[in-house]
């Protein structure tokens, strides 16, 4: 039904006949005309142009006797709500008006409701629009932040890739190359220059003709003009503006650039962040290098020690040994003195200590080479023995000389006694020869055992010396084939005969040792220009190439420790050289060796 609101309807009625009925119906807001620019809820008006423009919620066109056509046209033209025909009687009008008003009120009510609805919708859609906008901006914010995150992620990825590569770099130059890869994304940024700080110096890595060069400068890095000048000198070209980034006074990164403002700041920010990682990698490489060098030095030192040193674990297994160390040295660790390969070692063992309390199970075994001392001791013993023997020999020789002289003399007498039969006289002559030989040996022994200190050079016939030496070597010569080719001419030299005899004895003895039971010994003497040569050649196995120079060193011997003193060849050569001669190893191969004694030739005494 009609609500309260309806009593507020404003009606404009331009038809006079309708005024009073409308009043009677209780319409309060009733006007007779609509001023221009105003609006009303209902307008009762005749058909006119004015109605077209009138602003009313509902328009009722009042007419009389219009045709249908006119009615239709009016409704569509004027957008009329209703048409009221005035020709009806008073009561009709009243009834028509009443129903019309009711209709109008309902319509307006509906319109009002609709209007309200619309208004509400508008608000709602506004709100809805607001919400969308918020959502939209929310989404776009998210997108933005996603973008930012993506970018950050990308950066992170890029950075972690950068870090990974830095981590894997094995050389400083690699680091520089990685930096360049990374910096290529910045246009206007030149090749990087890496400066590594050292005490009082700078190590500079830079690109030069597609390769990476490294130079050192004798001043510490700083941003001073002086340093830059030196850098330009190294690069051998003038330098433009430089972006310099430094980390912890360890590493500096320089870029030549043609940038300014924001891009330059961006570069600075980005690289300042990355420089920390670069510094860490540089440090790592430096430590690596130091470690390698230390390890190298240790290895070289360890291997360079010429005494065998090994490190053993608690089970006496070899953990590490230096180059001279051979596992076969370990056959008996309880022995203090070990002989191996002609060397005499004194075994020293000591445990390895790490820190104060911790004692590792390992120990170091050090084979201290005592060969030289040992040989010296042996030599001294032998020298003393020889000296003692020399004295003894003198006495023995003298003691033997007497009876031998007697034997020889008596033989001479008997062999010239014609009362003695011929055969026996011949026998006696043989006995005499034998005793003469004994005497010669004794004479030589006496001469040989004389002390050398006052050895004096006298004019000596060299062949005689050789001949005198041979009897001493009868045992040693044993079954060897001896080929004696002494020169028929007498060979004289100014030399101490005793010493020369020792030299000849030495060489022949060596030759015999080289040959063992069977072989050929050749002894030849000759005059070669101004020199006398005595060659002693054996058919032994020869002397190894590696030791051919060493054999003349004092104390050098290939005989097992205790046999021989290693002094023979050394003294022999020294002695011969002091006489103006020499001792030469003329040949040594698998067929044997040939030693040559050289002495200056002195003209035969008149």
């Amino acid at each position: 039904m009609v609500t309260e609101q309806q009593t507020e309807l404003s009606i404009v009625c331009e038809i006079p006949e309708l005024i009073s009925p409308l009043q009677k119906m209780g319409v309060k807001k009733l006007f007779t005309s609509l001023p221009a620019g105003h609006s009303t809820d209902v307008l009762f008006a005749p058909y006119s142009e004015k109605v077209l423009d009138a602003s009313a919620f509902l328009k009722v066109i009042v007419h009389s006797n219009w045709s249908n056509k006119e009615l239709i046209r009016a409704k569509s033209d004027l957008n009329a709500f209703a048409l009221l025909e005035l020709n009806s009687s008073g009561m009709d009008i009243f009834l028509q008006l009443e129903s019309l008003l009711n209709e109008i009120k309902i319509q307006i009510h509906w319109m009002q409701t609709l209007h309200d609805e619309r208004e509400r919708n508008k608000i709602l859609s506004l709100e809805h629009a607001d919400l969308s906008e918020v959502l939209q901006s929310f989404v776009s914010l998210n997108r933005e932040s996603l973008k930012v995150h993506k970018e950050q992620n990308r950066n992170l990825k890029k950075n972690s890739f950068f870090l990974k590569r830095l981590n894997e770099a094995a050389e400083m130059s690699e680091i520089l190359a990685i930096i360049r890869e990374e910096s290529k994304t910045f246009r206007g940024l030149g090749d990087p220059i890496l400066v590594i700080h050292q005490k009082g110096r700078s190590q500079v890595l830079f690109f030069q003709n597609r390769a990476i060069a490294e130079k050192r400068m004798d001043i510490e890095f700083s941003n001073s003009q002086q340093w830059r000048q030196q850098l330009a000198n190294i690069l051998a070209r003038p330098m433009g503006p430089i972006l310099s980034l430094e980390v912890d006074q360890k590493v500096a990164l320089l870029f030549e650039h043609q940038m300014s403002g924001e891009p330059l700041d961006k570069v600075q920010r980005e690289w300042s962040g990355l420089l920390g990682a670069v510094a860490v990698s540089v440090e790592r490489l430096r430590l690596d290098q130091d470690l390698r060098e230390a390890s190298f030095f240790w290895e070289k030192t360890f291997d360079g020690l010429d005494e065998p040193i090994g490190i053993l674990d608690s089970q006496n297994r070899v953990i590490r040994g230096n180059r001279p160390f051979q596992p076969d040295l370990l056959t008996d660790l309880t022995k203090e003195t070990i002989r191996r390969n002609g060397r005499v070692y004194h075994l020293q063992k000591y445990p390895i200590k790490f820190g104060e309390d911790v004692q590792s199970d390992s120990r170091v075994v050090h084979f201290s080479d005592q060969t030289a001392q040992f040989q010296l001791k042996q030599h001294m013993i032998q020298t003393e023995k020889i000296a003692a023997l020399g004295q003894l020999a003198g006495h023995i020789a003298h003691e033997l000389n007497n009876p031998l002289t007697g034997i020889r003399s008596l033989c001479q007498l008997l062999s010239s006694d014609l009362n003695v039969p011929e055969a026996q006289r011949e026998d006696l002559k043989e006995v005499e020869r034998a005793s003469e030989r004994c005497q010669r040996i004794i004479t030589n022994l006496l001469e040989y055992s004389k002390p050398n200190s006052s050895g004096s050079s006298v004019l000596t016939e060299v062949n005689e010396v050789v001949n005198n030496t041979l009897p001493f070597l009868k045992t040693l010569l044993g079954f060897l084939n001896v080929d004696l080719q002494l020169s028929s001419k007498e060979l004289w030299s100014l030399v101490d005969p005793h010493m020369l005899q020792q030299v000849v004895f030495n060489l022949i003895a060596n030759a015999c040792h080289a040959m063992g039971k069977r072989g050929q010994l050749s002894i030849r003497s000759s005059l070669q220009g101004k020199f006398i040569q005595i060659e002693i050649e054996d058919s032994g196995g020869g002397i190894r190439e590696e030791i051919r120079e060493q054999i003349f060193d004092p104390f050098f011997t290939t005989k097992p420790a205790g046999e021989g003193t290693g002094l023979g060849l050394s003294f022999s050569r020294n002695f011969l050289r002091s006489c103006g001669g020499d001792l030469i190893l003329k040949k040594s191969d698998s067929t044997g060796s040939n030693f040559v004694i050289q002495l200056p030739h002195k003209e035969e005494p008149a």
Binding site: A397, H398, N401, N402, P403, L404, T405, G406, I407, R408, S409, L410, Q412, L413, S416, Q439, T443, K450
Partner: protein, 118 residues
């Protein structure tokens, strides 16, 4: 002539005696310096063949105690280094012959030469 042989080696004494007796010389022997001195005084030899190294009393000591007579002395020794002609002379010997002898007969010849030449 009368020859006194002073040497501790029997074979040397024997051979010297034999070589001398072949030449009809009269020979006496002594086996050390002390005995040699005794014999020298008793026998009064013309020639003494004297060894250096002997037990009890050695040759040089004997020479220092010898009677002051005209006997010639031949000093014999194996020590060729320490003793030579000069040393022998300074000790009072006339000649020095080193041992070993190459020829026993030669010794006697030289001895005869000494006496003959006075």
């Amino acid at each position: 002539m009368k020859i006194l042989i002073v040497d501790d080696e029997p074979l040397i004494r024997r051979s010297l005696r034999r070589a001398s007796e072949i030449k009809n010389h009269v020979v006496k022997e002594a086996q050390n310096g002390a005995e040699g001195l005794k014999q020298w005084l008793e026998f009064q030899p013309d020639l003494v063949i004297l060894d250096v190294l002997m037990p009890v009393m050695d040759g040089p000591t004997l020479l220092s105690k010898r009677p002051k007579d005209k006997a010639k002395v031949i000093l014999i020794s194996a020590f060729t280094g320490e003793y030579d002609a000069a040393k022998a002379h300074s000790l009072g010997a006339d000649i020095f012959i080193p041992k070993p002898f190459d020829n026993i007969f030669e010794i006697v010849q030289r001895a005869e030469g000494l006496i003959k030449n006075g």
